[in-house]
Symmetry: C2
């Protein structure tokens, strides 16, 4: 039996949330692996990527089917377009988590450079942003999306701080260079996760307000 | 007067090409600025970003309007969905070019580290991939898209090579660290431009074949 239209829409929402939960968990786990110096967690992260890739395809298919068969207009169309865009961003968050697993592997093979500076803090904010962006999507809450976007500046500042600190290490002791480079690249990956969460928030605002808030410079 | 449907589709295609041309030029110019050590080119790149951001919004709007008013099915819907996805990737290529301008600014403020190793070569391939991906979109040529995807491996190899060479410099002479880091990050930005070109090719294949080729592991 063909599902009802509203069920199909709810189905898309559910798939997005499932995928969001997975990439959130990938992000959390990969940073845990660094903090706890636990290589086993990396296998978990990699296993989750397969599910994410599957959902990535499934969500696009469900959205295109909805458009083709149901010819949604106005608000529903914006919801579906947002779901497809959010889908892309979530998949790329998964890619970033996988990139971090590679750096984690090098980092866990050698003695730690030092505590991880502000990297865990950066990751915490990026995860909170991701969670908040998906909540905003489900609740159609453009104000929450707006608030979340503002947090991206903090992540960028922490990234710059991490960079400066690691630069000091490297200049003082070249033997730290390979580890410091891995950590710099991890901090860039986390920054990009926060950027994707920001993109998701922009899509939510578009979905709710029917208005494009991208490229407006400082949010007004 | 309302435009005909086929004109509206052609309009979307034209907007995509215009935006593609711009981000191609941004990429070319920003690498030229590094090679020629010419700061003036950076202003050009930044000026182009405004146009790219404008087109980014325009393309999404044109696509959503087409879906809402014309209820396209099958091939046309895949074309429009592909245009929206390609739009996102092109905008992010523009972002990468802007990221490179920042590194270029630091790099041009100090004496050159050395010739730029394989960075110009990497950029050349990434640009060719981008151009080929957009040609494949316009021509609906999935085979060309497929061939283009294969080139991404070369870019990744060059990126690893650039990384290893710069690491050697840094270890040998810590005074090179800041410049080497800028170059490493530039090479990552170029790598990501090639990744976006790859995404565009995957969207073209989906558009032509109605088949999702993403996440298939080594292309078969």
């Amino acid at each position: 039996m063909k599902k009802h239209y509203s069920e199909q829409l709810a189905g898309v929402r559910e798939l997005v949330l499932r995928m969001g939960g997975l990439v959130e968990q990938m992000t959390r786990r990969v940073v845990q692996s660094l903090v706890q110096r636990n290589l086993n967690l990396l296998a978990e992260v990699r296993a989750m990527e397969n599910q994410v890739n599957q959902l990535h395809i499934e969500i696009d298919e469900a959205c295109l089917e909805l458009i083709a068969l149901r010819q949604p207009a106005a608000a529903d169309l914006r919801f579906i377009a947002a779901a497809m865009k959010i889908n892309t961003d979530m998949e790329r968050i998964g890619d970033q988590a996988i990139n971090i697993t590679e750096h984690a592997e090098s980092l866990l093979a050698v003695p730690p450079l030092k505590p991880l500076i502000d990297i865990p803090r950066m990751a915490e904010i990026a995860q909170e942003m991701l969670k908040a962006s998906l909540d905003a999507f489900v609740n159609g809450d453009d104000e929450a999306a707006f608030e979340t976007i503002l947090r991206d500046d903090t992540v960028d500042q922490l990234k710059d701080q991490v960079f400066r600190e690691l630069l000091t290490y490297m200049m003082a002791d070249p033997s730290t260079i390979p580890r410091a480079l891995d950590l710099i690249l991890v901090s860039r990956n986390i920054e990009r996760i926060a950027d994707h969460a920001t993109n998701i928030c922009e899509d939510v605002i578009f979905m709710v307000k029917g208005k494009d808030v991208r490229h407006q410079g400082p949010l007004a």
